[in-house]
């Protein structure tokens, strides 16, 4: 496993909006920054509609026609993906960055055999000839625990867990360096969920993959992720290593989120809930996006949105434009002080 100290993928100030039919655009993503390192796993967590999937699609430039990236950079191994032409971008997809979509049933073409679909990417990028590609497909299927003989079946003949594993096999087909997993375990029961997570982990150790896992399951994050990015209303609320965020949450949202998660070690504790609902992305509050629901708000929160700042000096932020985001960050006025602004 290579653990370089330069990030493989580094997302900076990424902003994306969706144009409504009429009325204001929905600012689905604003000023999102995080880093992904080879051989490590980043968890993107947050409520539904907070921009987790949009972040992945923006990085891969797969947004639907109504969405557009308004600002920011996505550096992959030194190249800004957002400045590439569509044709150049296509070379990065699947070969460098692959994605496991939410809901494997829908992401598999119902009228194509599974092995054919896994092979598709390999042949599309002309990585291997047909015969070698077939052998690779068999290997991949065995790797994810599907007998290679079942490759020539159609997706509807697979069980839910098998489909999810087939999707993972498909994502690994071109030996990508970054794997995006969009809620890879959401539709699965606990047993299969554990299997899939186990599989992702073992593949990561074997291939040195960087994984970005989108989920709203905090348990999954704690289990498999090295660092975590907590998102709220299209912005990063807090980010840091799992240890930092789970044991020392700094943003009020993260604090409440963790309190609303049952803990096996503490008995008969009342689970907290956060009152209110996430903001509509087309009618965002002028200040902090969490302000209307926040238990610790101050008057300033209503007027100005807090920036994401590094906590606990020594500063990890560097003077150049792309500081490494390896420390603990939070976007809250209450944490503003002598900390270094990004």
């Amino acid at each position: 496993m290579t653990r370089d100290d330069t990030p493989l993928l580094s997302v900076r100030h990424l902003s994306t909006e969706f144009l409504g039919l009429d009325g204001p655009a929905a600012r689905a993503l604003e000023d999102v920054s995080f880093d992904v390192f080879a051989g490590r796993t980043v968890g993107l967590v947050g409520e539904s509609g907070c921009g987790k999937t949009t972040a992945l699609l923006s990085i891969l430039r797969l947004l639907p026609a109504s969405g557009r990236i308004t600002a920011g950079r996505v550096l992959f191994d030194g190249t800004d993906l957002l400045s590439l032409s569509e044709r150049e971008m296509r070379r990065y997809r699947w070969k460098e960055m692959a994605i496991v979509f939410q809901g494997a049933m829908n992401a598999l073409n119902p009228v194509m055999r599974v092995d054919e679909q896994i092979r598709e990417g390999i042949l599309l990028h002309r990585l291997l000839d047909v015969e070698a590609a077939n052998r690779r497909v068999d290997e991949l299927l065995e790797l994810v625990g599907i007998p290679s003989a079942r490759g020539n079946q159609y997706p509807h003949q697979f069980s839910g867990g098998m489909r999810q594993r087939a999707m993972i096999a498909m994502a690994l087909a071109c030996r990508p360096r970054v794997l995006f997993a969009d809620e890879p375990t959401t539709a699965l029961d606990v047993m299969i969920q554990a299997q899939v997570l186990e599989l992702l982990k073992s593949i990561q150790t074997e291939l040195g993959l960087a994984i970005v896992m989108v989920t709203h399951d905090l348990g999954v994050v704690a289990e498999v992720c090295d660092s975590v990015v907590v998102m709220y209303g299209g912005k990063v609320a807090e980010s840091g290593t799992c240890d930092q965020v789970y044991n020392d949450p700094q943003h009020p949202y993260t604090q409440r989120l963790l309190q609303s998660f049952p803990d096996l070690q503490r008995r008969s504790q009342d689970l907290a809930s956060i009152p209110g609902t996430p903001p509509r992305l087309s009618e965002l509050p002028p200040g902090c996006r969490f302000e209307p629901r926040c238990h610790a708000r101050i008057p300033l929160c209503r007027q100005v949105g807090p920036p994401l700042v590094a906590l606990h000096t020594p500063a990890v932020a560097r003077p150049d434009e792309t500081p490494y985001l390896t420390g603990h960050y939070a976007a809250c006025h209450l944490r503003l002080g002598e900390e270094v602004r990004l």
Binding site: L60, L62, A65, R90, R91, Y92, R93, W94, K95, A98, I99, F101, G103, N106, A107, L108, N109, P110, V111, M112, E120, G121, L124, H125, Y154, H156
Partner: protein, 322 residues
């Protein structure tokens, strides 16, 4: 693919209407192919009796099987030769229409935006102009222009270039639903270009629709060709069924009571159109994934059916006791 065909045949065999349509179409195809071998005469050959006199409007009883026309030509020979012309024009025009319609439908549905607007407005314009007068004017004008192409080619092109509108709309709507499916997004994530996505993911899904629609368009094309030829826009040197009808009415076959001259081509047109419509409808029923979801929701279907039959049984019992 082979298994699909076997599966298809299993379902198709059980459908009486489909089988009937297939037989009707196949029989006419056989006639069109074997036509000249089925009759000793040439279409323009004058039939004479034993004394060497030309047989004018001879009824089938005098000259079997279908008598002669006003110019003493064998009607049966004209009919089997006409099958070739009618089917050739109908099929060619049908395929042209199908090709343009599918292409426009796929492009408009897949790319959307200004491509969609442009193609669909063009379709709308063609849709609102009445077909028949437009075609009459086009064919008549083109034939007067001394283009040195056969009148049949003009007819084929005009029909083919005007009858793609409904197909384009149908295909477009289907492509619109398919392109939003997640496996298309996945194909984009793989790094596939538009051409690859259309060929590997969109086309296989709409192919059944195209096949079923082609058969239906064929029948329309044959019917339209007959109509235009009946109005005198066919090629008199290569008579189709429509041209035969045109001759029959021009030469007073009706007032002469020569039913054997005008009924056979009319019935032949009905025969092949009916065959195509039956076949097309059944193909659509079997191949259209929206009408036959069997492989996607097999279990639910079975459960629903069982409950249905139970409910029916209960209904019967209630009825009996009442």
């Amino acid at each position: 693919m082979k298994r699909n065909l076997v599966e298809f045949w299993r379902v198709f065999r059980g459908n009486g209407m489909g089988i009937l349509g297939a037989i009707l179409v196949a029989s006419i195809l056989v006639v069109a192919i074997l036509g000249p071998a089925m009759t000793p005469y040439e279409p323009s050959q004058i039939v004479r009796d034993a004394d060497g006199r030309a047989l004018i409007f001879a009824p089938p009883s005098v000259h079997p099987p279908l008598g002669t026309d006003d110019a003493s030509r064998d009607v049966f020979t004209q009919l089997v030769h006409g099958a070739r012309i009618s089917l050739a024009v109908g099929f060619l025009a049908g395929f042209i229409a199908m090709f343009i319609g599918s292409l426009f439908g796929i492009l408009a549905g897949y790319f959307g935006g200004w491509v969609d607007t442009l193609l669909m407005r063009a379709t709308d314009v063609l849709l609102v102009i009445p077909d028949l007068p437009l075609m009459l004017i086009l064919v008549a004008t083109l034939r007067q222009m001394d283009l040195h192409v056969s009148p049949l080619a003009v007819l084929t092109l005009v029909i083919g270039l005007l009858y793609w509108t409904s197909t384009a709309r149908l295909i477009r709507s289907q492509v619109l639903t398919i392109k939003e499916r997640q496996f298309v997004a996945r194909a984009r994530a793989i790094g596939a270009g538009h051409w690859h996505i259309i060929r590997k993911h969109i086309l296989p899904q709409i192919m059944p629709l195209i096949v079923a629609n082609t058969v239906l368009i064929l029948s329309t094309a044959i019917l339209v060709e007959s109509g235009l030829a009946f109005l005198g826009l066919g090629d008199p040197t290569q008579p189709s069924w429509g041209t035969m009808l045109n001759f029959a009415f021009d030469r007073n076959a009706v007032s002469n009571g020569a039913w054997w001259f005008y009924l056979p081509p009319g019935l032949a047109i009905v025969w092949v159109t009916l065959g195509c419509v039956l076949l097309g409808n059944v193909l659509e029923e079997i191949l259209n994934p929206r009408l036959a979801m069997h492989h996607l929701e097999g279990e639910q279907h079975m459960v629903a059916r069982r409950e249905e039959s139970r409910a029916e049984g209960k209904g019967c019992a209630d009825h009996d006791s009442g």
